[in-house]
Subunit: 202 residues, 2 copies
Amino acid sequence: MKSPRERRQLRTKEHILTVARDMVLQHGYAGLSLRAVAKAADYSPSGLYEYFSSKDELMDTLSRRSGDLLSEALAQAAAGADPLCDIGLAYIAFALENPEEFQLLFSRTRSKREGLDEAVTGNNPYGLLLGQVVRAQERGALSTDLAPEMVSYALWALVHGIATLRLSHLSGFRADFESVDRGAITALLQGLRPGVSNPISP
Amino acid sequence: MKSPRERRQLRTKEHILTVARDMVLQHGYAGLSLRAVAKAADYSPSGLYEYFSSKDELMDTLSRRSGDLLSEALAQAAAGADPLCDIGLAYIAFALENPEEFQLLFSRTRSKREGLDEAVTGNNPYGLLLGQVVRAQERGALSTDLAPEMVSYALWALVHGIATLRLSHLSGFRADFESVDRGAITALLQGLRPGVSNPISP
DNA sequence: TGTACATCAGTGAACGCGCGTTCACTGATGTAC
DNA sequence: TGTACATCAGTGAACGCGCGTTCACTGATGTAC
């Protein structure tokens, strides 16, 4: 079918990952099998061990890439007029549009941080959110009495909850979620404004 | 080992479910196998088909029971002085104390409702929360401009997000979550109070 | 330019595993006469 | 009370499946002389 030349061009780690990602998107991350990936990428099952030392390593690579995609989506959202709310909505949208990637991401990726004392690393979704929270405090949109990490956590939890509920328990439920989601985020942010008595003690 | 009499007493559907539940708690719901349950309950693998027509049916039964346990925990919390906040905290506590049951519950149970027009059924966790929201509105703790279902959804999403994050991504992260969680819930509720401009339009 | 050798991506068969489910059967119990 | 039969919970072996991983190997490519 394929010429040797075509075949050689396709035989890259990148191609295998692309194929694997497509399979996750189509059949779910839980059902992904090395053998199926190998077949789809035109390898024998053992051939993939040239590129990955185990199925786990392949899955981790996929998971990390999903994280990068999410970061990218959030970074774009952070450029708008209402960054905090938009980041939250973008988070939800990403989960709904890429359900399998979202689940892959959160089923495998544990936070590398183990406490508030450790620094937040780089360009990950949480770091991005945290940065915007600090900025919101600087321009007076959020009370400065609140620890930024706590605000970020609350906001993250809210949108994460919306995302996971709508992917699992509420899949099949029809409603105008878009406006409700926006409303919920706004409500939380209003509860964190200066003037409203501080619920979170630092 | 066991006398015939003892053996007969143990051979009930109830006993099988107890054994199965224990195995879920210990080894996770994803790894539960019929054969392992049969072995632990002193049956041959095929013997369980006397009680359940398939593994799926057994899992569904387990899942429904987890839901009942959660409902019970929330109902108790609703009896306190600050029902909405306490229900939320109880939801989080249940998830952390019974992680496998919580995941079993949400990996299998889809909402039977498919839209706001359908009635909320019985004693499930969401119905319980909704009832308390209505009561909070009646006593003026929440703006009556807000649709109760939307408030319930927002609150549920927040605590569900906290629960799932702490079970997955933030397992291993050490912090004083208890006070932060309480603060996050309080903040959301404050954003929904009368007087604060309504974020959710009905 | 030709030959001998080393490298190395990739193969194919096999290993050993556990799974859910089916089915012909057994053997104890209950029932009818 | 004893016998013949029906019921039925439960068994054990087998089916057919797919999985991740290992390993001796091949055959094309690159390198050195």
